[in-house]
Symmetry: C2
Subunit: 255 residues, 2 copies
DNA sequence: GCTTGACCTTCCCTCTGGGGGAAGGTACAG
DNA sequence: CTGTACCTTCCCCCAGAGGGAAGGTCAAGC
């Protein structure tokens, strides 16, 4: 029989941890002297302790180990932990790929992967996503009192422009209502003349390819600076540079 | 110009985060109205914010991003992060291998990897690591008043037995003094008759091989139940089972 | 002009998953 | 008999972020 201190030394952990494991029901002393509450451990408990430490080393949280000791399914817990670890590894690899792309790129990373929420929008088909059509669509939405405070955009491949709304709007033969689905997008921001967007688009496509992601929907273009919000008060001496302040986000939904 | 709320929506983060980034010096508004402390952001800042978010997504801590913004070496930071991530991935893979070994083994894991501190010991060469020699060696150490409260052991391949000491001891022609180096060991605990140790040894060697680790020193055997500490008070009715309570640890130093 | 929402700061809590240390008191061992 | 070990309880720590509420001011739209 060992007292807690020497047993802790043998086990390679602290007496404090042994007390905590006792309290958590993970690993209890074989006998507690009722007269003084001293914990006594037997040599035969070392293999049991060892198994618990091994589980901890595999990354199982203590409370889960507690469940196992209480009769849980070891095999299943290990399989679950394996799946978790596998996800961790994949995440690390994904990040490594993204990192390598950034390292190759002098300016640093400019593409991020982010979730986009469901977006209820008014949509309009147009030959070209031009400003005038966007103003028309926005007026319609605003007249209906449904303008949501988010920037409008386009889905160029569908020849469609959209304006976020706060709910269903009256539709016309030219203007419809739908909800753009929530997706995870790879996104890049382009600043400057609209002609330069083509470069950004290429960079985004290259990034998604390098990251090994699959495209699941057509690209969305968001006109970030569009709307009254962009023209609040301006500091004294600030010159609004229309060209430089023209900011566009390209979003490519990926799996 | 945007106020913090709309800019946060565009950037895909919270106003709170933007305020925190301002305070951390990571990303500051282009203008702060001195009359009311309102923060104003320009559309042209979106690409800059985007780069910061991308760095965050790559796992760089905020304070490091702060250093980069303050003129730090981006390339070097990314390389460092890459190395870190690579270690993470390797750790995940190492654990996956250990997990797979455990899953294959019905009883659960019984080998752990753990560091062992430097151990000053009295050593003695013997033909066989037998009890009588161990008692003799321990008596010598105890007579010198140098017995350290840790269990004795053997290095069978060297035909050497050792007893931990608290400092240098007088040496004789049969008894020496040395310091076992600190190492990381793969360790298994065997309980029961000494003959069964061979099975444990095989299990340990198999584990180390499966884990892809290299052995860097001969195996150490530790007699865990050896010594007075093991025979403190015993609960009423407790029967000391010499065979079952004979507990041996095998330690294999690995890289 | 008034209301509602947005913004300001400051302080504290949350999470995850565990750790350690000190205080104050009793018990054991040599 | 003295130093060490042990008991409990309470509090603090880590990293690395983020959120929430309080209390006050301000802006925008009707």
């Amino acid at each position: 029989m060992f007292r807690i201190g020497s047993f802790a030394r043998l086990g390679g952990l602290s007496a404090k941890q042994l007390r905590a494991y006792d309290e958590l029901g993970i690993f209890r002393p074989v006998w507690v002297d009722p007269s003084n509450d001293y914990r006594y451990y037997s040599p035969a408990q070392l293999p049991e302790l060892r198994r618990i430490l091994a589980l901890r080393e595999l990354g199982l949280p203590l409370d889960e180990i507690g469940c196992l000791v209480a009769g849980g399914d070891l095999r299943e817990a290990l399989e679950r932990r394996r799946a978790e670890l596998e996800r961790e590894r994949q995440r690390a690899e994904e990040r490594l790929r993204a990192l390598d792309i950034s390292i190759a790129d002098e300016r640093g990373p400019d593409v991020v992967l982010r979730p986009v929420a469901v977006e209820p929008v008014a949509v309009m088909h147009v030959a070209q996503p031009v400003d005038t059509a966007l103003y028309e669509l926005e007026s319609h939405v605003r007249d209906a009192g449904r303008r949501a405070p988010r920037p409008p955009g386009a889905i160029p491949s569908e020849r469609e422009i959209f304006v976020p709304v706060t709910g269903p709007i009256p539709t016309t033969d030219r203007i419809g209502y739908r909800r753009l689905p929530a997706v995870r997008v790879a996104s890049i921001i382009h600043r400057g003349a609209y002609e330069g967007v083509a470069d950004a688009r290429r960079a985004l496509l290259r990034w998604v390819e390098s990251a090994g992601l699959a495209t699941v929907a057509p690209m969305r273009t968001i006109y970030l600076q569009f709307g009254a919000e962009a023209e609040l008060r301006v500091p004294p001496g600030y010159v609004v540079d229309q060209a430089a302040d023209f900011v566009t986000e390209l979003q490519l939904p990926v799996a």
